[in-house]
Each structure stands twice: as structure tokens, then as C-alpha cells.
Symmetry: C2
């Protein structure tokens, strides 16, 4: 790690009894940093605040914002990963609801993806299903074994992402992305009330689509409806937006909604 | 922490980029240590091996056994928590399947529970449901937010444990225990194929019940069947067995199967 802080101080290690390690009792955010500025900072902080509320994590979000800004200024360019845990507190599952969370910040270079991804990617059909847990749905918490297992399903370079479904076979998201599709001029994205991560770039795209006057639906989407889409794309806060042009036997063009949103996001995540 | 090792060496901190922290990408075991010996060691190692297989963790179990035995000898008396993570490896969800796991051992004094618990406890009716995830069911992995949320549901001293159900309302387990009930002379325990932790003391009790000639069923158990039980108890590898004598309006006696098994386990976890 090039740059690593714990509670505002340079440190590359944490206490072995941290509850983030013991139970995944915490949250994280992964922010693109451009010219010393964390991108989509307000949305990241908003999701973090929602997570703190749901997990009853007693965080000082103003102090976290300040640490993030200081860290990003020092990092300059790349990715900042924030991990917020319930700290070392109590043994056993029961959380100390008054405990001060521990805040980790880790810097790394901006990931490099094939430039061709911006013209279209192929999705791998993951067999790992996302379990329904409405109490945790939407949050970017530290319990991510489903994503670890799903990402282990393919090693080839042919698939840039994998499609994950819920136990009923609804399409939900990619392993590290959210999913959108276009149908008859409407923009659809899966409802994340029972599983999935409510991505920051998903929120940004929903907001921009509404500004652009696109009809938007956040809804249940079965595999059949997905396959009948006119266009598909995935997104996250590091790479932005990739059109999806292939899944199994299915081929899609890069559609007009995808192009319009790709244009709207241009420059948001670029270094210069 | 009184005693803490990382990969066989005294250390109270771990690398901040450990995947156990980042994603809960790992497993744990909590062992009672009596006179320098870890109790139920073979069963703990067996569950750890199953977990390694399911998570594709490339662990040297013979080396882990040796570390556990050395650690327990040094600890003498108390509880040894073993955490096995996929180590620091790769960024992103994708695991490096050849990575050498990181092994943490943490010692603490034996927990002290009210002695009255051995005569019967009251269960809290947790509202948090255990999600169905057959790929992770049975394992003692590091994704434990459901238990954290469930244990936060009660703070009173009246309830020693909480009852957790699955999304269909079947009873599954306690927050930190497994569950058994007696019905018409048969011993029942919930099937854990879709959720729950397959406890080491549960396995020990199932084996002893069979030796004692008790008819045993591992099966789906609805809330109604649970309420109609003749007797109920919970168990884990630290406290052994507690009869359950109260849940909501329901009162149970300490039944004959419970007493017989309590007798069979006597001395297993005691210090002297």
C-alpha cells in the first residue's frame, strides 16, 4: 500500500481484535481521487451515513469527511478505500453501541482496465446467488463473501464482469458494479430492497437520467426481461460506465440511452 | 488481549489490507482450553477443513493444528479464538486461490456466565432473520453482521440467548448457540443446509445422543413444532449446554433428554 492511515495517522496495521475483522462489523467506500479531490464525495458520505444508521455505528461523519479530504489531497491521484469498523470494543457478537468506530484509509493507483471496455463488455453468468437480507440490502458493508465466491467463478479475460441474480432468478447487479438496461426508451435498474449494493455511480446515473428527462424505473427485473432489453450497461464509481454487449448467446448494441449517459459522465473520473 | 499470535509469532496487529477485514474472507473457531489442551480439537479442525474447502482457502491444517496446540499450552486456561483469513493478497473481490492464509490466535479468560444458566435460560425472540445462503450455510465464516444485529436486539440480563429464525419462520439456532428440542422421546435439531452455523458442540451432542441410543432427527422445524416441544436446550463449545425453560409465554421443564446429555457432557469444559 502506497498510503495508509488509521484514525488519521499513518499506519499500515490495525489491532488484531478489531470487530471489522472478527465479524465484518463495518462499512466501506471506494472513491476515485482526481487531482487531490475525491469524486462523488457527497454521495459516498450519504451512503456511509445510511450504513452507520442501519448498523448503529456511532460515527463522526464530519471528522471522516475531513480525513477523506486530507487523505485525497495527499494521494493526489488514484483510489481511496475507506473502511469504517466498530473498532476493538467488546468480545462476542453484541456491539457496544457507544464505541467510537475506527476509520482506515488506503490509497492505491487508479486501476487500469482495457480501453475497449468503454465500447462494450461481456458478462459472466455467475451461479452464486445473492441472499435476501433486507436489513443489510443496499449497504456497502464488510460481509462480502458472496462477491468473493462469485468473482472466483471465472478467471478468463473474456468476461469483464459477472451477472448476479437473487434466489428467485431476478437480475440484481454485477459482482462489483450496478446494472442498468434500456427497454422501449425507458431506463430500468433492479430494485435493491432485498439484496445488492446501492452504488454511488448508480445514484449518480439515476439523478442524471432524470435531469436528462429519461423515464426511469427502479423495479424487479426477471432474467427474461433482462434478455429482452434493447441495451444494457454496468457502472461503478471507479470505471464509470461500461456498455454490456454480450451475455451467453445474447448480443446487444451500444444503445442510445447508454451513449447519452456515457457522454454525460465523460470527464467525471478522468485524471485530466 | 492477554495472548495474541499472527502466523505463529506474538503479534497484536495485522496488516490493514488483510482480506479478512476487507471482505470477511475467512473463517474462525472459538475453542475452550482446559489445562493447556484445546477441547473438541478434532471437531474444530474438521469444521475448519470443511470451511477451507468451501471457500477454497489453501490452508496447511497440520501447521494450524500445531500452532493451536502450542498456543493452548501457553494459554493454559481460557478461550482460544482462531481466525484464518486469505491474507493480504490481491485487491478486488477476486481471491488468489494459491495465497497462503493468515492465521491469528487470540487468548482470553474463560467467560463467566451465571451458574443458574445450567438450570435454565430464557430466549429472546430475535426479529433479525437468517438469510438463506446454502453456499455459506454451516460454516463459521467471518461474515457475521446478522449475529451482530440480532445480539443488539436485547440488552437486559433476563435473556441469556436469542432465538433466530429463517425467512420462512423455521427455528434455526441461537445467536451464539445451536438449538435442540425433545419431542415424544426424540431429539430434534434444525437442518442447517440453508443457513446457520454447524456448531462443534452440536456435532458432539449428536454423536453422544446416538451413542446413548436416543432417536435423533436433523430436520426442518417450524415455530409451531418448536413451541410444542417437550423440552428445549441450546449449546456451544464454550458453555456446553443450557436448558431453555422460557420463551415468550412458553415455559418448559428441564426434560429427561436434556438431563441425560447434560450429564454426558459433564466435565468436558470444566477447568478442574
Amino acid at each position: 500500500m502506497s498510503l495508509s492511515w488509521v484514525d488519521g495517522q499513518p499506519a499500515a496495521a490495525i489491532a488484531a481484535d478489531d470487530r471489522g475483522l472478527a465479524y465484518g462489523d463495518g462499512l466501506f467506500e471506494t472513491l476515485r481521487v482526481v487531482r487531490g479531490q475525491p469524486r462523488l464525495l457527497e454521495r459516498h458520505l450519504q451512503r456511509l451515513a445510511t450504513g452507520c444508521q442501519r448498523l448503529q455505528l456511532n460515527a463522526d461523519l464530519a471528522a471522516i469527511r475531513q480525513q477523506l479530504e486530507d487523505f485525497a489531497a495527499q494521494l493526489g491521484e488514484g483510489v481511496c478505500k475507506l473502511i469504517l469498523t466498530r473498532g476493538s470494543g467488546r468480545r462476542g457478537y453484541g456491539p457496544d453501541l457507544r464505541a467510537a468506530p475506527r476509520c482506515l484509509l488506503q490509497g492505491s493507483p487508479a486501476p487500469v482496465w482495457p480501453t475497449a471496455h468503454a465500447q462494450g463488455v461481456r458478462l459472466y453468468p455467475c451461479t452464486v446467488r445473492l441472499a435476501w437480507q433486507p436489513l443489510l440490502a443496499g449497504l456497502k458493508h464488510l460481509n462480502r463473501l458472496e462477491q468473493v465466491l462469485a468473482r472466483a467463478e471465472w478467471q478468463d479475460g473474456l468476461h469483464a464482469e459477472g451477472l448476479m441474480c437473487d434466489p428467485a432468478g431476478h437480475v440484481i447487479e454485477g459482482v462489483f458494479s450496478n446494472l442498468f438496461l434500456g427497454r422501449a426508451g425507458e431506463l430500468w435498474t433492479p430494485d435493491l430492497g432485498r439484496c445488492g449494493v446501492a452504488g454511488v455511480m448508480r445514484a449518480e446515473i439515476l439523478a442524471r437520467a432524470r435531469t436528462l428527462g429519461m423515464p426511469v424505473q427502479v423495479r424487479e427485473i426477471g432474467l427474461e426481461a433482462f434478455l429482452q432489453a434493447d441495451e444494457v450497461f454496468v457502472c461503478n464509481s471507479l470505471y464509470g460506465l461500461w456498455p454490456v454487449t454480450a451475455f451467453r448467446e445474447q448480443i446487444w448494441p451500444v444503445g442510445p440511452l447508454t451513449r447519452q449517459l456515457q457522454g454525460a459522465l465523460a470527464g467525471l473520473l478522468e485524471a485530466s
